[in-house]
């Protein structure tokens, strides 16, 4: 989880540098070219329509769907990626056992069968998951897809010293009887010998054995590592050059990073076997390394269909598009499932006193912090920690109420008195220097706490080391008295466990790369989290997460800034568009185009 977060961090920082390098001259030039409206064929839709429903519904086949992104694709190999956009996009050519539902709205967080006939059968003890493959599944060369190839794909991406480096390792954490297995290259004559956590009794059946019951396992089964890889086609990290397709599209020539990717139809794909993909376009193209401002402008001009990264428009074009009524109808503004917050450290004095932390919670000006994040289009002001998409979110919780979200200074002063810091105190706030939004939020925090005499000094750090060696290192935090740090969290999957365990469980405090930056180690919270992950009943589980949510807010260890929202541009010629909460971007498998 932490990895995905930091990867994302790196991606964003690259973008920030790209913007900086662009310079003023070209920035003004782009501004001068702006203003041309989209001239595509389809209907425009309305503002934010794609967040909850399908816009421009169509079954029209044909055309080229044009993607572009600011950096390079991390990897096209479904077994070697931790980026949500690759998880989403790779489904064009790599089918998985399960996937997120292609339906819009709240349903889009639900796992549904893809190659599997139905959702897994779970044994009574919760440790065995059994799935069966659909009929008619074939690779691009016409050979049948067998379950052993799925087992092989999981092995190559999780096990051994030479396992693919970029992906998550949930299977390795969870699967039983496999801890001694050393990977697919350890024994060339029988690469899967010793990998007993997965059984493939026949070509259509696959059985997973877990060490402990893990109710969120379907979210692991929908990760792209369950896409089949034929053992004789595997070339390790070079497999990304030409992934063997199991989906409706296949590579048109080899992919090398930075040179773009073209996908064409895979004639061996059988539409009857696939309830997920509409496969409308004849061809799909990806341009890499395109400047973010250029991507945004081309989307508005109708010269591009989708920004592959899925994080939304860059700050410069966003403001322009949102203030223009003609452009606004083409914008979706969904919450993307991430919480942006200030980690209030529970060890650095005087914030080790709960009342001092609560003073910070009362004094914070949420309106000002939201403005720093781009106002209502940048995010919703949260009153708790768990985002609305996740069971356990409590919309009625409001522990630190204030008029117009401006903070309650009287209560804050009371709390300061309670913790013996009547005249306020000073502390430091760590922030990533190359993230203008976070720096702006830091200034808002500084300004609002100043009102009750809490003096905050802002310390800037480079984002590629921030999560590992500065904010992510408790020693560094203590030595530099970083009482506050600006941070964000996107879970790998939308459940309470996926969301809370890394940022709020005392057992997850690490010496480096620590995500529990508040160093919150509350016995009650730890106990409830351990209990919740073992609970099968989903209502009972949600109740537990709500209690945890409330308790975290009481401790004052997390000062929420926003539940972040993306500003996604949906060109007129894009058809069948809706936002997937599972991937936090448009569902790429349903898209079609009326252009070119």
């Amino acid at each position: 989880m932490d990895t995905r977060q930091s990867r994302k961090a790196r991606n964003l920082s690259k973008r920030a540098l790209g913007l900086a390098a662009l310079g003023v001259g070209s920035a003004l030039f782009l501004s001068a070219c702006g203003g041309g409206g989209g001239t595509g064929g389809g209907a425009a839709g309305t503002f934010d329509q794609g967040t909850t429903e399908v816009v421009n519904a169509s079954e029209e086949q044909g055309g080229t769907l044009r993607y572009a992104m600011a950096s390079n694709i991390e990897s096209t190999d479904p077994g070697n990626t931790y980026y949500g956009y690759v998880w989403n996009f790779s489904r064009y050519y790599a089918r998985t056992l399960l996937t997120y539902s292609p339906e819009p709205g709240d349903k889009s967080t639900e796992p549904v069968p893809d190659m599997a006939t139905e959702m897994p059968k779970v044994s009574d003890d919760g440790k065995t998951y059994t799935l069966t493959l659909r009929d008619g599944l074939a690779y691009e060369d016409g050979s049948p897809i067998v379950t052993e190839d799925i087992k092989y794909a999981i092995a190559r991406s999780n096990y051994g010293d030479d396992a693919l480096p970029n992906g998550p390792r949930y299977f390795k954490e969870l699967l039983a009887d496999s801890d001694d297995y050393e990977g697919v290259n350890a024994n060339p004559s029988d690469p899967l010998a010793g990998f007993d956590g997965i059984e493939t009794p026949d070509e259509k059946t696959i059985v997973f054995h877990l060490k402990e019951p893990f109710a969120d396992f379907p979210y692991v089964l929908l990760q792209p590592q369950t896409a089949p890889v034929p053992a004789d086609a595997d070339k390790g990290e070079q497999y990304q050059e030409q992934v063997v397709s199991s989906g409706p599209y296949k590579f048109d020539g080899k992919w090398t990073p930075g040179n773009g990717l073209t996908l064409v139809r895979n004639e061996e794909w059988n539409a009857d076997s696939d309830p997920i993909r509409t496969a409308l376009p004849d061809q799909i193209t990806v341009e890499e390394g395109v400047d973010q401002n250029e991507i945004d402008q081309r989307l508005v001009n109708g010269e591009l269909d989708v920004d592959l990264a899925g994080t939304g428009m860059g700050p410069a074009k966003k403001g322009e598009a949102l203030s223009n009524e003609d452009d606004k109808v083409n914008i979706d503004n969904p919450e993307n499932g991430s919480l942006r917050y200030v980690a209030v450290n529970t060890v650095v004095e005087p914030l080790d006193d709960e009342a001092c932390r609560q003073a910070v919670m009362y004094a914070a000006d949420h309106d000002s912090m939201q403005r720093a994040w781009g106002g209502a289009a940048g995010g919703e002001i949260p009153n708790d920690v768990i985002p609305p998409q996740i069971a356990g979110h409590d919309p009625d919780l409001d522990l630190y109420p204030s008029k117009d979200d401006k903070g309650d200074l009287d209560k804050a002063k009371e709390k300061l008195k309670e913790c013996g810091e009547e005249d306020g105190f000073s502390t430091n706030l760590g922030v990533r220097a190359d993230r203008p939004t976070e720096v702006a939020a830091a200034e808002a925090v500084q300004q609002s706490l100043d009102r009750v005499g809490i003096e905050v000094e802002i310390k800037q750090f480079p984002s590629d080391t921030f999560t590992n060696t500065q904010a992510g290192s408790p020693d560094f935090v203590h030595d530099n008295e970083l009482g506050l740090n600006i941070y964000g969290w996107i879970p790998d999957w939308p459940t309470g466990y996926g969301f809370l365990s890394y940022i709020a469980h005392g057992d997850n405090i690490k010496d480096a790369g620590n995500s529990n930056i508040s160093e919150l180690d509350d016995k009650e919270i730890n106990k409830m989290l351990d209990e919740a992950v073992r609970t099968e009943d989903s209502d009972e589980q949600a109740r537990l997460y709500s209690d945890i949510d409330r308790r975290i807010m009481e401790t004052g260890a997390i000062l929420p800034i926003v539940f972040e929202k993306s500003v996604l541009y949906r060109p007129d010629n894009l058809t069948n568009v809706h936002f997937s909460q599972g991937y936090s971007m448009y569902d790429y498998m349903t898209l079609g185009t009326t252009g070119s």
Partner: protein, 338 residues
């Protein structure tokens, strides 16, 4: 030298003969001043430079008279969605003012999102820009002069070592190094905290790596001066190297050093702005021109004044120092006619 022939023209009734050799030196300066005064462009540059320095020094007074505290938020005047200044602060849906909220109260408009007063931030930003530029210039002039004069005077292996060191420093990827250094140096290093450390770091990085430019000039001048009679005379009277270097040679190098430092200042201002632009400059919320320019790129479509104003501030400052320095160089150039 043309100086002696001009001496009789000097004003203020000074009798050059009575003043001895001191008068001859002063008359050179007077000629230069006369030439400089006649150079209208250079004078304009000089006036702007003086005004800028006055602005930086008097920042607290100026902002009290014409502005607001530089870090004070005025978010009630801003559109929450785009961050731009509202046309009508009483009406949150009145749209964005393309002039960025410029008015009698906010002379240069408002900073997007925070609504901080741009005039105050520009005025305070001058402090940082000029402080870093002057500090860095003093540092590189000091290092450059000492090493240049030593290399030029002693020659031989000393010259070789110092000259090669200059080559290495000139070939250094300075910007990359600066970014790396600013990220690595922990807060509290060298007993300095926060912005004190930041300013010291900027001065050190810029000053320490730009000395070879001035070092080369000083070395070249020293090479020609050390063959002159007054140096020979001092040496034959038994003067030590230290005396010759700093009592005989240095006074004769003051003019070129002065001229080139004036031309270094604008370079250093741009460098400071670049570093702040890349996020390794001063800590927020302290305003700096480069930092403002860097932030402004996120708002160039809706609040263009935020890009233009700090850009203009840097432009005017750099231009003024360049015109001033050019004029100074022309005035001191013995080959230029008047």
């Amino acid at each position: 030298m043309s100086a002696p022939s001009h001496a009789p023209d000097q004003v203020e009734g000074v009798d050059p003969a009575a003043e001895g050799w001191v008068a001859a030196e002063r008359s050179l300066r007077q000629i230069a001043w006369q030439r400089f005064r006649r150079d209208k462009v250079a004078m304009a540059g000089a006036v702007v430079v003086v005004l800028l320095i006055a602005m930086a020094v008097l920042a607290p007074l100026l902002t009290r008279l014409f502005g607001f505290p530089p870090n004070e938020f005025h978010q009630d005047l801003m559109d929450p969605l785009t961050g731009g200044a509202l046309n009508d602060p009483a009406n949150p849906t009145s749209g964005i003012d393309p002039w960025g909220g410029m008015s009698g109260t906010h002379l240069l408009g408002l900073e997007p999102v925070t609504g901080r007063d741009m005039f105050s931030r520009i005025v305070y930003g001058a402090q940082i820009s000029l402080l870093v530029a002057f500090g860095a210039t003093v540092l590189c002039v000091f290092i450059g002069t000492v090493l240049g004069i030593v290399a030029g005077y002693f020659g031989g292996w000393v010259d070789t070592v110092i000259s090669r060191a200059m080559d290495i420093f000139l070939a250094f990827p300075l910007l990359l190094f600066a970014i790396a250094l600013a990220g690595v140096i922990p807060d509290g290093a060298f007993g300095l905290q926060g912005n004190g450390l930041r300013v010291a770091l900027l001065i050190f990085i810029i000053g320490f790596f730009n000395w070879p430019y001035i070092g080369r000039i000083v070395r070249g001048q020293t090479l020609t001066l050390k063959e002159r009679e007054f140096v020979e005379a001092a040496r034959s009277l038994g003067a030590g190297s230290g005396h010759i270097l700093f009592r005989e040679l240095l006074p004769n190098l003051v003019t070129p050093i002065l001229v080139y430092s004036t031309l270094l200042i604008p370079t250093n201002i741009i460098f400071e702005a670049s570093l702040s632009f890349l996020g390794v400059g001063i800590n927020p919320p302290t305003p700096s021109w480069g930092g403002m320019l860097s932030n402004s790129l996120d708002f160039y479509t809706t609040s263009p004044h935020y890009v233009i104003i700090p850009g203009l501030a840097i432009f005017i400052t750099v231009l003024a120092f360049n015109l001033f320095g050019d004029g100074l160089r022309d005035a001191f150039d013995p080959r230029s006619s008047d």
